[in-house]
Symmetry: C2
Subunit: 153 residues, 2 copies
DNA sequence: TATTGTTATACTCTATAACTATA
DNA sequence: TATAGTTATAGAGTATAACAATA
């Protein structure tokens, strides 16, 4: 048995810390979203729909969220049921369905966004603004690396 | 409706990026662990048991992993079934059961650790060593903040 | 009274495969 | 042939509540 390890202890492992911090963030966001009847995945779909003036295809949603398209179908179904988004046929391609936020969807996204953001700010309070920017940039580069790897590896 | 938002777009939100990066890391780690019949949660318990020479209580495992104690019971059950850890009575407190790695558990932790670490290094390849250290430190502070908040908020 | 571990249960999230329709 | 969306299903992860044994 080797005595010295070529890898970090679990609690110093970036993968473990990512999973741990993400768990905290998702739990906090879900708690913040509770009063709107949303969970973080549904909220994420809504946020992307609100951002896209002409709607966003389910394929784009799946790519951006790192989800399988079949999961996106169900999330959009729920948001449609709640009256927060609509599915519209895409003019350019009859296979594609554009997910467009309703007026109510926009309002909910903004109110819920405030609450989620308050939770996030509280969670990151031990980090300076500059450190939060650094963190955001480093995380974005990890995600981008995977995206340009092709798919979601 | 306000025109300007007081919160970031989803794709610039640290919470979202944490969840996205964590998903990639966990998926990669699970793939790396497949040949050992482990998944990342079981592996994490094993890694903590291996690190603790005299074993670690299930309560400590739950706190460190951010899991409910009832989840730890099941993870330890599986590792016991696989012969990678044992439960031993704690000398000092008869309520406590210490989870101790077996020799096989130690060997598997090391071999699996190499594979997981290789995956992590690949995932972080767009970050310099210094940036990886920064990321680790920032994530650790987020987790510590939640811990000192009391429990897992 | 509080803590450690356990059992049970329900719900959410993830992973896959197979299929329709359009391109 | 390939892509966008859909349906179905199984397995893994999460959240709670209630309980026994011990402190």
């Amino acid at each position: 048995m080797e005595k010295y390890m070529n890898f970090p202890e679990l609690t110093d492992d970036v993968g473990f810390l990512l999973s741990r911090a993400s768990g905290l963030a998702v739990r906090g966001a879900n708690a913040a979203l509770g009063e709107y009847g949303l969970r973080v995945r549904q909220y994420s779909v809504l946020a992307l729909a609100v951002r896209a003036p002409d709607g966003i295809s389910q394929r784009e949603l799946a790519d951006t969220l790192g989800l399988d398209p079949s999961q996106v179908v169900l999330l959009v179904d729920e948001l449609v049921g709640a009256g927060l988004v609509e599915r519209r046929p895409a003019p350019s391609d009859r296979r594609t369905r554009l997910v467009v936020a309703t007026g109510e969807g926009e309002r909910v996204r903004h109110r819920a966004g405030e609450r989620v953001w308050a939770d996030t700010r509280h969670r990151l309070r031990a980090l300076s603004d500059a450190e939060q920017d650094t963190l955001r940039e480093l995380l974005a580069r990890i995600v981008d690396t995977a995206d340009s790897d092709g798919g979601n590896r």
